[in-house]
């Protein structure tokens, strides 16, 4: 490493250029640079996409293989087609990856101490959090769209061989693809907000995964209060939106409506952003 010792021409302190105007788009661009300058980002997004598509392909392949043994009624209705497009194992894994990567965009800065450099460069802390949220939402929505369309296309291409594919022009299919595309950004934003609130990497990850995956399993579906709490979970809302067939109404069954399920998906990131923005202003970095 070489270093120049020759003095630069002196710059009088008084005549320096005025500071450029503070633009929010610059903060978004800075967060974009931060995200893509890490090698792990394209790898993580690519592997998550392949995993979900693979899971959808396997689910469709299983129904393709078993198709000859199904009852004629099952063959005719092929209710399994839409759930093969959005398999639990694929999308629950996607939720884990999204909540973790969303959290990392914040907790990695706390872990390394980089957050102090960031905050000294941009004292408007709330704006930095919002810029991170914009980048996270953008990147994961794009990835989510690719994954949702991809897993739908792969699974239905396989099932078409048994004449059991559903069409994308079906309103339920469109709804299911849209909800599946939004699942990843919703989870990533939940992770980001938890990261701001908790700051500690491992605690944030455990909290996020518990909240998204473990908590919903603890509710029972035949008690009204419990079922309604369960309907507030993002994963449950996604499940409702990707399901075309509902059992006939029963007194001990309390499914959420479609509208409620959309609202649940939207509310989680938006409502978590409020405490995140309030605490980051107040707390010592």
């Amino acid at each position: 490493m070489t270093t120049s010792l020759h003095p630069a021409p002196p710059v009088p302190a008084r005549t320096r250029a005025a500071a450029p105007r503070a633009r929010f788009t610059d903060l978004v661009a800075a967060e974009w640079i931060k995200l893509w300058s890490l090698r792990s980002t394209p790898w993580t997004l690519g592997l998550a996409t392949l995993f979900v598509l693979g899971a959808a392909a396997l689910a469709a392949k299983a129904d393709y293989d078993n198709f000859p043994f199904y009852e004629p009624e099952t063959q005719r209705d092929h209710m399994f087609s839409l759930s093969d497009a959005f398999p639990q194992e694929g999308y629950l894994t996607l939720m884990i990856v999204a909540v973790s990567l969303g959290a990392l965009s914040v907790v990695s800065e706390y872990g390394s101490g980089l957050i102090r450099t960031t905050t000294a460069a941009v004292p408007a802390r709330g704006a930095t959090v919002l810029a991170k949220a914009v980048v996270t939402a953008g990147v994961w929505t794009a990835t989510g769209i690719v994954i949702a369309f991809g897993s739908f296309a792969v699974s239905q291409a396989i099932l078409a061989g048994r004449d059991a594919a559903v069409s994308l022009s079906d309103p339920v299919s469109i709804r299911a693809v849209a909800a599946s595309a939004l699942l990843a950004p919703v989870c990533a934003l939940i992770g980001l907000c938890l990261g701001v609130l908790i700051r500690h990497a491992a605690t944030t990850m455990v909290t996020g995964i518990f909240l998204l995956l473990m908590l919903p399993t603890m509710f029972s579906s035949d008690k009204r209060w419990s079922a309604e709490l369960s309907n507030l979970m993002p994963g449950v809302a996604w499940n409702r939106l990707t399901t075309g067939w509902m059992p006939p109404p029963r007194p001990d069954y309390f499914p959420a409506t479609i509208t409620e399920s959309w609202l649940v998906l939207a509310a989680w990131p938006l409502l978590l952003l409020i405490p995140a923005l309030l605490t980051i202003r107040r707390r010592d970095v």
Binding site: T2, A19, P20, S37, S108, V122
Partner: protein, 301 residues
């Protein structure tokens, strides 16, 4: 200009900084000195708006730093060179910082050249030595061409060539009319770099004055005498008003000049083997003045 006014910062029950006031003026390199745990880093963090003061205030250029929505054009700061993401390249780290403040990419190349990291620009920071990370941190501080620069222990981990370079840089920045504020727990470091000193211990101000004044204040001039007639001469010196410490092979005399000690020896027919004036070093002045202010004195419990 940095102004700290009646600043107190408590973390839980522990007082890190206690009613601290001082001013750091432009055009000088000002050293911020104190033993480990004296509250230097806490003070810098409050100045940068990272931590909120419990009471009192800190301003940069007359306003609290947090009132700016972007900081790099107002203050360039290096708090801890290790606080970088090891997975990014030096260029990516600086590009993100620059972009957040609306600074163009050309400036990134300029500051990398300034700190001598051009060749390492695209290497990942995780593989950098501490000295290289210090240079990267200094490059980040220079990005916005700010009128105020603050560095926390910037010399740590630098090789001798790096130390020489960084001293030169700090003096040049001050000569350009900027405010340069460096913290260190090593007095010897300041001797070669700073014009002014702010010295704290246990969160309280000990001194804020030009380096020379501080050194003189701590200096209790001492005359070293070696003589075979130590006992007799000690009595004569004490009678003349001096304070004498008898070491095994010499006497340490305070309160009399070398001329007076020589004259006394002549008058008492004492044979002298050595007569030397010792000026206390800055390091000793620092130790002397901060004694009792160190948070963790070796062997204190």
């Amino acid at each position: 200009m940095i102004e700290v006014i009646g600043l107190t910062k408590r973390y839980g029950g522990k007082t890190a900084v206690d009613d601290l006031s001082f001013t750091v003026r432009p055009g000088h390199v000002t050293g911020f000195l104190g033993p480990n745990g004296a509250g230097k880093t806490t003070t810098l963090r409050v100045i940068l708006g990272l931590d909120a003061p419990t009471s009192g205030a800190a301003t940069v250029g007359g306003v609290p730093f947090r009132s700016h929505s972007r900081g790099l054009h107002h203050v360039g700061a290096l708090l801890d060179a290790q606080q970088v993401h090891g997975g990014r390249s030096a260029a990516a780290h600086l590009s993100a910082l620059a972009r957040s403040n609306g600074i163009g990419r050309r400036r990134v190349g300029e500051v990398l050249a300034e700190v001598g990291l051009t060749d390492a620009a695209h290497r990942r920071v995780g593989g950098f030595s501490l000295g290289m990370k210090q240079r990267l941190g200094i490059a980040a501080a220079l990005l916005g061409d700010p009128p105020v620069l603050m560095f926390d222990e910037p010399i740590n981990g630098m090789d001798p060539e790096g130390v020489r370079w960084v001293r030169h840089l700090f003096r040049r920045l001050a000569a350009q009319g900027r405010t340069v504020f460096l913290s260190s727990h090593l007095m010897t470091e300041m001797e070669h770099t700073a014009d002014h000193l702010v010295v704290i211990g246990q969160g309280r101000l000990i001194a804020a004055e030009p380096l020379r004044t501080f050194a003189d204040r701590g200096t209790r001039q001492q005359v070293t005498v070696r003589t075979p007639q130590a006992a007799a001469f000690t009595a004569a010196l004490t009678a003349a008003g001096a304070a004498v410490d008898a070491a095994p092979d010499h006497l340490a005399v305070r309160g009399l000049s070398a001329e007076r000690v020589g004259a006394l020896a002549f008058a008492n027919a004492v044979e002298l083997h050595e007569l030397t004036t010792r000026t206390t070093s800055l390091e000793e002045a620092f130790m002397e003045i901060t004694a009792g202010h160190a948070d963790h004195l070796a062997g204190s419990r």
